[in-house]
């Protein structure tokens, strides 16, 4: 069974892979990149919900840190959701420049966000939630996305 840190870090890498495929596809044909973009957005949403609906509440309950790092991560999720919605709009309007401008911005925002989570938040979660790690990972794994 994975630790919380391993499980969510692997999720980041999976999303990065899909992101790279999405850009590669969009580079040859923006219209044909719609499917992989939708997959990227869905994968990201699943990852966000695994954190927001499972890991963050567990962390907050255990540590009592309600307005700390998890709140900041939620804000950054919202910023990224906003950019991803615009990515899909750019495909619908066939605006390649807009698409790559947004993907570039999203990439940097996403990577610095992942860095903070992997280097700090997940490490903290590991320390505070180690006893419940298997249960939390199982809950994240079986989460039905809303």
């Amino acid at each position: 069974m994975y630790s919380i840190k391993e499980y969510l870090t692997n999720d980041h890498r999976r999303c990065d892979d899909v992101f790279a495929k999405m850009e590669e596809q969009a580079n040859s044909s923006l219209a044909e990149a719609k499917e992989v973009t939708e997959k990227f957005v869905a994968d990201m949403e699943r990852h966000f919900q695994r954190e927001e609906r499972v890991m963050f509440p567990e962390f907050e309950t255990k540590t009592g840190m309600l307005n700390g790092p998890t709140e900041m991560m939620r804000q950054e999720h919202a910023q990224m959701r906003n950019l991803m919605a615009k990515l899909l709009e750019a495909i619908d309007t066939n605006d390649t420049d807009k698409f790559f401008g947004l993907s570039e911005t999203l990439m940097i925002l996403l990577q610095q966000h992942n860095m903070k989570e992997e280097q700090m938040l997940y490490t903290m979660a590991q320390q505070h939630l180690s006893a419940e790690a298997s249960r939390i990972v199982e809950m994240m794994d079986s989460l039905v996305i809303e």
């Binding site: 850009e23 790092p69 919202a78 420049d97 790559f100 940097i108 280097q119």
Partner: protein, 426 residues
């Protein structure tokens, strides 16, 4: 544990890194003009014009860009915030500008008063910023390879600035000590490999995976390379002062270490998952080529003294400036976007819309052309003005490109497009 970084209230104001970035190309242009319109039109390493021009680039361009980038990267990458950053950066920035201008004027006009002012202002400006950076790194709990690189770079900067102050004071007092040349060699080598090299290495561990979804550099490189290079540079410096017969061994070891880094850097970029080609990738590849070429020439320099100017040009212009310009083209549009987004405005231009791609490519072409012509000018002197004019053009265009992105920031702030709160609610 605090969560700093690109959060709304903890990132430094946009003016902090930008005040450093925007003066950099202006000093670089000044350096080229000095050589173009200077009295002696020859590239002699220890001529005062060449020393002045070199420092306009090393302090004025890469020193300023590195300090500006550190103010932004420390909170993002190292989770370390510089306290009272606006005051410290503002004071240091002004002192360094005054110091650099005094140095150039003092050297060219043999003005003791200005040379005295130069080492006081430059020493003060650098040390204020370096101490603030060290102080912020002290609070870091999670000591990553990137932070080790930053710390090594800043530690070498202390030595370089200290030695630089000493060398400049010798000019001011008109008394060049017997170790002047040896100290000058240490000063320049540590500036290239210690200050700039270590920062580039440390930051590359983090930004390449971040910008290009590239694989990591591997445990050995990330955990050991900075230490190995640090020791090698110290050994090189000591042998250069006290055991010249062994200096070549230290030099060869340093060269092999950097060639290994260049190979790993190339491999990392080549195997990145994001296959999109942009100007920053081109700048990185060019930098690697110049780094390897520069290392080869540095080895040859032991036998051919004439090429020492070429070695400096290849390392500073070809390697360091290429990496820095590539990074500026990533950092500046992102910071503009980030600060506008943080204000909650709708309809923010995307990063791609902040730079004119054609101008960016033209700037790259002019810059690389200027370095190539500069190298050739050592043997074909008539090419020197061509190189300098290309360099002035490339730096002018770099300034224009950066200011264009900043103009978008100012215009958007002025227009205040309606607020979009969706980015700030769950």
């Amino acid at each position: 544990m605090n969560f700093t970084g690109l959060s709304l209230d903890q990132a430094p104001p946009i003016s902090v890194p930008f005040r450093y970035f925007f003066v950099a190309p202006l000093f670089a242009m000044m350096a080229a003009m000095l050589l173009l319109f200077g009295e002696s039109f020859h590239l002699e390493r220890f001529s005062k014009e060449v020393i002045a021009a070199t420092h306009l680039i090393t302090i004025g361009f890469f020193g300023f860009v590195m300090l500006g980038a550190l103010t932004q990267m420390l909170p993002v990458i190292a989770n370390a915030t510089i306290k009272r950053v606006e005051l410290i950066a503002g004071t240091s920035h002004i002192a360094m500008i005054l110091g650099l201008l005094s140095m150039v004027y003092g050297l060219l006009q043999n003005q003791t008063l200005f040379l005295n002012g130069a080492y006081i202002f430059l020493g003060f400006g650098f040390f204020v910023m370096l101490i603030a950076i060290i102080n912020s790194i002290r609070s870091v709990e999670n000591f990553t390879p990137t932070i080790r690189g930053m710390l090594s770079s800043v530690s070498f900067a202390f030595v370089i600035v200290g030695v630089g102050v000493l060398l400049l004071a010798e000019y001011a007092f008109g008394d060049l000590g017997i170790y002047h040349v040896a100290f000058a060699n240490i000063h320049s080598t540590l500036a290239i490999f210690g200050f700039a090299g270590m920062l580039i290495i440390g930051v590359s561990f983090q930004v390449l995976p971040m910008f290009y979804v590239a694989p990591s550099f591997g445990t050995f490189v990330e955990s050991k390379l900075v230490y190995i290079l640090g020791v090698a540079l110290v050994v090189w410096s000591v042998t250069n002062l006290f055991a010249l017969e062994f200096v070549v061994f230290a030099k060869v070891f340093l060269i092999l270490c950097f060639i290994y880094y260049a190979y790993i850097l190339f491999k990392t970029i080549k195997t990145r998952k994001r296959k999109i080609q942009d100007i920053t990738i081109r700048y990185f590849y060019t930098a690697i080529a110049f780094l390897v070429g520069g290392l080869f020439l540095w080895f040859l320099q032991s036998f051919i003294e004439k090429i020492s100017i070429v070695v400096v040009a290849v390392f500073v212009g070809g390697f360091i400036l290429c990496v820095m310009q590539g990074m500026l083209y990533k950092i500046i549009p992102f910071l503009v976007w980030f600060h506008l987004n943080a204000k909650g405005y709708m309809s923010i231009p995307t990063m791609n819309e902040m730079l004119n791609k054609k101008f960016v490519q033209l700037q790259y072409g002019l810059f690389v052309g200027s370095i190539v012509f500069f190298i050739l000018a050592v043997y074909i002197e008539v090419l020197l003005p061509v190189s300098l004019l290309l360099f002035i053009g490339s730096m002018g265009l770099l300034e224009y490109n950066m200011l264009s992105a900043y103009k978008i920031y100012r215009l958007t702030c002025k227009k205040k497009p309606e607020f979009d709160m969706s980015g700030f609610t769950s």
